[in-house]
């Protein structure tokens, strides 16, 4: 819990539970959202491209955070569930002519149901056994979309995904698409934050900390774990659909095992089981990636022999090293750092 100034007491339960505690919190939030909403009008498509990528990553990492951060179930299949969501949305829009905005939640629903299927082994196993079950998802789902129903799914070529339209407006540039991703991120953040402090979130935390003790308390671990799987895969499906309609193409290799590993890394770097952690983690890792992309031509000139491979080599090295350093020195992630920083600010100029 955040440190408070002495003498600052809550006078009602509603106030005690509030996320936005002071009037200026509201102004800060509205101001931040207003700046984000104005960005597509003033900024270039490069910046908006990065922001779209970050926003979509935030959504899928928020889902994974509910499963891994709150419920403590390790999942290596988040990218596979994104594939499911992307394909479902692409098929619903291009084959059935549904609106993208109807297909988006349906994609989440479909991915959630597939996630439930791969969550079923959690009835009997936990820990890395479950990581294995989700690893299986990461192989079986791409195989399915590559080889099954070739006339519909178009095999290894994948699908061309239509541009979303609403009331005559086409969201076909990074700038216009940002309004969609921004809206979805706002909703997903609101839901994820409230899941964390609801009955569901507390049950998941109890299961994470000690599943047997949780069961003794009357929490049905299987039921709650499956709910966490469903929510996590739902988020992944929505993110996958957003990504497919953003890049307008999807195939079995759009999201692969490495992406799943990166999402897990983002959850840890941001802070496991915190509501702002996924945002910190996704922003940090994506910006790190952009920095590597920007730096690699210069490094390539320094070491000409490696020029062709420098990006492929540096990306994993930088990410892996960052993750290792966080695991060793700050296992609570950036969200914890943020808390410490806020406390220090509040207590300034005193040390304690």
């Amino acid at each position: 819990m955040a440190l408070r100034v002495a003498g600052d007491f809550d006078t009602s339960y509603a106030r005690d539970m509030a996320t936005l505690r002071q009037p200026w919190h509201w102004w800060a939030l509205l101001g931040f959202l207003a700046v984000l909403a104005l960005l597509p009008q003033v900024a270039g498509s490069y910046l908006l491209g990065i922001l779209n990528t970050i926003a979509i990553t935030v959504i899928t990492v928020q889902g994974l955070n509910i499963l891994t951060g709150y419920a403590g179930q390790i999942s290596l299949g988040q990218a596979a569930f994104m594939t499911v969501g992307g394909y479902i949305s692409a098929l619903l829009v291009s084959r059935l002519g549904l609106s993208f905005f109807v297909a988006l939640p349906l994609a989440g629903l479909g991915a959630g149901l597939v996630g439930l299927a791969f969550g079923l082994p959690s009835l009997r196993v936990k820990g890395f056994y479950l990581a294995m079950a989700t690893l299986a998802a990461q192989f079986i789902i791409p195989w399915f979309v590559r080889n099954a129903y070739r006339d519909v799914l178009n095999g290894a070529q994948g699908l061309v995904v239509p541009v979303p339209e609403l009331a005559g407006v086409r969201f076909d540039t990074p700038n216009s698409y940002f309004y969609i991703t921004l809206a979805v991120v706002c909703i997903s953040t609101y839901v994820a934050h409230n899941i964390g402090r609801s009955r569901l979130g507390r049950a998941l935390i109890a299961i994470r900390d000690n599943d047997l003790a949780a069961e003794v308390l009357g929490i049905n671990p299987f039921k709650y774990k499956l709910q966490a799987f469903f929510i996590s895969a739902f988020y992944a499906g929505v993110a996958g659909a957003l990504w497919a309609h953003y890049t307008r193409h999807i195939n079995s290799e759009t999201f692969d095992l490495i992406d799943s590993v990166w999402f897990l890394g983002m959850v840890v770097i941001g802070g496991l089981g915190t509501s702002n952690g996924p945002i910190f983690g996704a922003v940090f890792v994506r910006l790190l990636r952009e920095a590597v992309v920007l730096l690699s031509p210069a490094l390539g000139r320094l070491f000409p022999a490696l020029e062709a491979n420098i990006l492929a080599a540096l990306g994993p090295i930088v990410f892996g090293t960052a993750l290792m350093l966080f695991l060793i020195f700050e296992p609570h992630g950036l969200a914890h750092r943020w808390q410490v920083l806020k406390a220090a600010w509040r207590l300034r100029p005193f040390a304690h």
């Binding site: 690893l135 047997l212 590993v261 491979n309």
Partner: protein, 305 residues
């Protein structure tokens, strides 16, 4: 189904399972001593095999010296990983340790590209190409022919020898006993004066060596590239099928996964089912998890609060 081909595919599959079994053996070794499931195994063996390739072709060492030196390098790498990456995590939850091995795998992936570039390489031939031919057997109308590649036969033999050696090591040596004690309970092992950290380091070193032997055998068969690390992903189903604590289980699991892959690839008439062979191990994995999570020979843990 073409039953005349069954023996050929079955035997080839079993032999293919040899390297998988070696990698699985490495996973079990680490798990037995430290309860860590090593997702970086594939990348360790890939780096080890690349080192062997470099020593044999670029440094032009004789075969035995090149491979021996590469194994020493992998061993040192195992000790280094334990010291740098895992010791700071003692007492951290399982998730941190799994993620640490995943982070290590990413660093090694990048390192391999940086040191050896992403090109596909030809590994020098270790065994003659001339295959062994078993005598033909005719049963009724079908004639059964079995052809065995020498690489496969030798990797199978090496895998079997490794298993026997490790079984003896765990059963009869002081170090083996110490490793078994550490696996049982870290605190207890410490209290009787075992240096748990050294044992972890040793487990990582041995497991890297075993896996690299598998990697070299595989590379001499089908070439060397970054995707060599994928073999470790096939070793996971093997380990879970066999049971996480069991050395014979790892071997049987590895051979079974090899055989299942080969049979799915070769036997069914329907091409869609035949194309399922890369995911067949994972389907086995899911079934094993649901039906018998502790594996064929693993231990069933009873939990108390």
């Amino acid at each position: 189904m073409n039953w005349a081909l069954f023996p050929q595919f079955f035997v080839t599959g079993l032999l293919n399972g040899g390297p998988i079994a070696l990698v699985a053996l490495g996973l079990v070794l680490i798990f037995k001593s430290s309860k860590i499931f090593n997702f970086a195994q594939g990348h360790i063996l890939m780096l080890g095999t690349f080192t062997a390739w470099w020593l044999l072709t670029q440094a032009a060492l004789p075969t035995w010296a090149g491979i021996g030196l590469a194994l020493v390098v992998v061993m040192l790498m195992g000790f280094a990983i334990e010291r740098v990456a895992l010791r700071p995590l003692v007492g951290q939850p399982l998730l941190s340790i799994i993620l640490m091995t995943l982070a290590l795998s990413q660093v090694m992936q990048g390192g391999a590209i940086l040191l050896f570039t992403a090109q596909q390489r030809r590994f020098p031939q270790l065994f003659p190409l001339e295959p062994y031919k078993l005598p033909e057997i005719t049963i009724g109308e079908t004639t059964v022919r079995i052809i065995l590649k020498q690489n496969l036969v030798w990797s199978f033999v090496i895998a079997m020898v490794a298993v026997v050696l490790f079984a003896l090591f765990f059963q009869y040596t002081r170090m083996g006993l110490a490793m078994r004690a550490t696996a049982e309970d870290h605190q207890l092992a410490r209290s009787i004066g075992l240096r748990v950290n050294h044992i972890f380091g040793l487990a990582w070193a041995i497991s890297g060596v075993v896996a690299t032997v598998g990697g070299i055998l595989l590379a001499s068969l089908s070439g060397l590239g970054l995707e060599l690390s994928i073999i470790a992903l096939k070793a996971f189903p093997a380990v879970l099928l066999g049971g996480l604590e069991s050395i014979p289980g790892a071997i049987i699991g590895g051979l079974a996964i090899g055989a299942i892959e080969a049979l799915v690839q070769g036997l069914p008439k329907d091409s869609t089912i035949r194309s399922m062979w890369p995911i067949a191990p994972y389907i086995v994995l899911v079934i094993a998890l649901i039906v018998r999570p502790e594996g064929l020979f693993g231990l069933k843990r009873i939990e108390r609060i």
